[in-house]
């Protein structure tokens, strides 16, 4: 019984990360136009009308959930130390912020020339499609930051250390 409790407690953090990912994915599945989402576009023909279940919250919820989940998973991968609890969220925030900034017009414009040079590369095509067709959203950046902070707090509370 005590062993089962310990295991359950150990699974709280990864479980909450997984739950966050599911919530974020459900926003795409339920509220978004699949034709406008890269990983869902091939199935767009099967989608009924988007539900708008999450309302305006759905605009930033995926960024929050994604940042929370990957910050926690990084903390767990780095080890349950105080250093890991700081480094994981910081690392993910750096990644998330970089990707968001990539969508800023002044930055994405710089990527046009490499696209012309490699028009047939699927990886570059996706990266540039993300950068050039997406747009920079400070709301996403704030949501990602919040997700990282919540992940830090959750990990700290779970370990009962700041």
């Amino acid at each position: 019984m005590r062993i089962g409790q310990a295991t359950a407690q150990r699974l709280v953090l990864p479980g909450s990360a997984l739950l966050a990912l599911l919530v974020g994915t459900s926003v795409y599945l339920l509220d978004r136009d699949w034709a406008a989402v890269l990983f869902l576009a091939p199935f767009a023909a099967f989608q009924d009308d988007p539900s708008n279940l999450f309302g305006s919250l759905g605009n930033v919820l995926p960024a929050f959930c994604h940042a929370y989940a990957f910050s926690l998973l990084l903390i767990l991968a780095l080890g349950r130390t105080r250093r890991a609890r700081l480094l994981g969220p910081l690392a993910w925030f750096a990644v998330a912020a970089s990707l968001e900034i990539l969508q800023a017009e002044s930055i994405s414009g710089l990527l046009v020339s490499p696209l012309v040079l490699h028009p047939d590369s699927p990886v570059l095509g996706s990266v540039f499609s993300y950068a050039v067709n997406g747009y920079f959203d400070s709301g996403d950046l704030l949501a990602a930051g919040l997700g990282c902070v919540v992940a830090l707090l959750a990990a700290s509370v779970r370990e009962k250390k700041p």
């Binding site: 406008a36 989402v37 890269l38 576009a41 994604h66 990084l74 968001e100 050039v132 067709n133 747009y135």
Partner: protein, 627 residues
């Protein structure tokens, strides 16, 4: 598990997490709402070439030539595919010049083209009595010459995409999805290439107004070394015969993107004012806006059917930074030297007409003879038949009727000519057929090809230090250098395609000398029948000691005449436009084989101010002295 392995697994897990995290971020478009993100295909990117005053003319020229080429390929498909009233049966002339009734799915065997080469055609036709959407034709050409004025190689794959009306009448709509693969079309000295696909729509439902449109996502076209790619283009050409009887009004609207490695990038082009032309004249009104990187642009403003102004905006601020005056001839790559200090009026016109007639006829006469010397009975043809190779000393050849030709030079192999061979000939009253030659000629061969069914094709640079040619009743002398192509088709009637161009050449005729610069002549000659018929087009600039300044000339309608004229006749159809520096002009309009009319426009406003009837006999042959 030891510490090293643990550390390795941890590093792997972190790297995997970061990779998955980044990939999922990109795959979802980075959160946000969905209205800012469009999934692949990759985004459209703006044009990349900076347009400047330095490259404005070059960019405009590339766009104009590419648009012209696309219409040329549309025309070629049109004339080979669509039935004309009076023809019989259905779908395909087979893009090769034959038009047959074929059962569904019938595959033609390899066929010879009329004047050489082959075409292999496969046709799938649902109903032999009509064209149906989905019918297809695939034609594989190998040096196919059907007497249409060009030789074609490559593959054309056509699928009928839309049909309305009856193509055996004048009123129909025909849509075709066309894939061209490695198409090479040789027309005289010019070569055009095409690779890619487009949709061609021929619409004459509103006959006598017809419309041809070409659209596609990617088509690579080339002309004489310039290769460009057209992307996302739509070119429409409307022809209206109903506005004025006998007059064809042409309206063109185009847009698309042109990419050229030679220019170093891509530009977008769009007609902001429809382009209009009458008949075969160059357009007289219209505008095309060409946009490059950072909104830099050059606007082609058509002033009239010879003059164009280019407005270059280098920084995209909407203000024109540079105006460039140019001409259709320059934009189309038909660059001619500038015309200076000349005028045309009723006093100078008769002299100009005489000088021009002699210069044009003489240049054609003394240049076409170079290629003719490779006929088996002619001196170069006789050398070819000898076992001669390497450097060879002077060989005296008996001309087949009388006189001699002394030939020396170098020849790589026996029994044929090849690139780099050199021939020097001195003619002494060398009489062959209707031609008598005196003087000398040096020929440097660029290419020589001789295949069964095609007597020979030769391209060469020629130096005529002084060559006199008498043919029929005409006598001309030539001094200068020129490049020439001569294609002698060895068929029942026989056809010769020949063209020559020069940067500087002197023609002597009727005791007078005319200097030609930047000039060219192309001709098609039907031989083996009487009378021998010549179709000729000429262009260039002429200077004569009897006239002040220089004059440009250009065939607006090909001359057609009998080769064996007696010195008093000339073209029975054709029109030559001669223009002076002050834009005054003279049109030499053939009336019949004896008479010609000179239409004068004193101020270049396009209106005829006076017409002077005259005869070819009066144009200089009466005091005929060969120099």
């Amino acid at each position: 598990m030891n510490a090293v392995m643990k550390k390795g697994l941890r590093s792997f897990a972190i790297a995997a997490l970061l990779a998955v995290g980044i990939a999922t971020t990109i795959a979802t478009g980075g959160s946000g709402s969905d209205d800012g993100f469009t999934p692949p295909p990759p985004p459209s990117v703006g044009p990349t070439l900076n347009i400047t005053a330095a490259n404005g003319s070059e960019v405009a020229s590339a766009v104009v030539i590419a648009i012209g080429l696309s219409f040329d390929f549309g025309d070629i498909t049109d004339q080979n595919i669509v039935a004309r009233p009076g023809d019989v049966q259905t779908l395909a002339k087979g893009t090769a010049g034959f038009y047959k009734s074929l059962p569904p799915g019938y595959q033609l065997a390899l066929e010879n083209c009329a004047n050489g080469g082959t075409v292999d055609v496969t046709i799938n036709q649902a109903n032999v009595n009509t064209i149906t959407v989905g019918d297809s034709i695939v034609a594989v050409f190998v040096d196919c010459d059907d007497g249409l004025g060009y030789v074609i190689s490559g593959t054309v794959d056509i699928t009928i995409a839309a049909v309305q009306g009856d193509i055996l009448t004048d009123i129909f709509l025909l849509g075709m999805d066309i894939v061209m693969t490695d198409i090479v079309i040789t027309e005289g000295a010019s070569t055009m290439t095409a690779d890619g696909d487009f949709t061609l729509t021929l619409d004459s439902l509103n006959f006598p107004r017809t419309r041809m449109s070409l659209s596609g996502t990617e088509l690579e076209v080339g002309s004489d070394g310039m290769i460009v790619t057209l992307a996302d283009f739509d070119h429409a050409l409307q022809l209206d015969f109903g506005i004025s009887p006998g007059v064809e009004v042409v309206v063109a609207d185009v847009f698309g993107r042109l990419t050229s490695s030679l220019l170093g990038g891509s530009v977008d082009y769009d007609t902001t004012l429809s382009i209009e032309a009458v008949g075969d004249d160059d357009p007289h009104v219209g505008e095309i806006l060409i946009t490059g990187a950072d909104d830099s642009s050059v606007r082609i403003v058509i002033i009239d059917n010879s003059h164009i102004q280019l407005e270059v905006d280098e920084d995209g601020d909407g203000t024109v930074d540079e105006f460039i005056d140019t001409t259709w001839a320059e934009l189309n790559g038909r660059q001619t030297p500038p015309v200076t200090d000349s005028t045309i009026n009723s006093e100078t016109a008769p002299i100009l007409a005489r000088e021009m007639f002699n210069a044009v006829t003489g240049f054609g006469s003394v240049t076409i003879t170079a290629g003719a010397q490779f006929v088996p009975v002619a001196p170069f043809g006789q050398i070819d038949a000898m076992d001669v190779s390497g450097d060879f000393a002077a060989l005296q050849i008996a001309c087949n009727l009388s006189g001699t030709a002394t030939v020396s030079g170098s020849k790589a192999v026996t029994n044929t000519y090849s690139s780099g061979d050199n021939l020097n000939a001195t003619f002494d009253a060398c009489l062959r057929g209707g031609e008598k030659l005196d003087g000398s000629m040096g020929v440097s061969i660029a290419s020589f090809d001789q295949t069964p069914g095609d007597a020979y094709v030769v391209s060469a640079s020629v130096d005529e230090s002084s060559l006199r040619r008498v043919f029929g009743g005409a006598c001309f002398s030539g001094i200068g250098t020129f490049d020439t192509n001569y294609d002698f088709m060895f068929t029942t009637t026989g056809l010769i395609y020949a063209n020559s161009s020069t940067t500087d050449f002197n023609v002597w005729a009727g005791g007078r000398s005319q200097q030609l610069t930047g000039s060219s002549v192309s001709a098609q000659i039907t031989v083996g029948q009487q009378p021998v018929v010549v179709t000729r087009e000429s262009s260039g600039v002429m200077t004569s000691p009897d006239l002040t300044g220089s004059f440009s000339y250009q065939s607006v309608m090909p001359d057609e005449f009998y080769a064996d004229d007696d010195g008093t006749t000339g073209p029975y159809t054709g029109e030559l436009l001669v223009t002076a520096a002050d834009n005054s002009s003279m049109r030499m309009v053939a009336v019949d084989e004896f008479n010609v009319r000179l239409d004068l426009d004193y101020n270049g406003d396009g209106m005829i101010d006076t017409s002077i009837p005259t005869t070819y006999a009066a144009l200089g042959y009466d005091d005929f002295i060969c120099q």
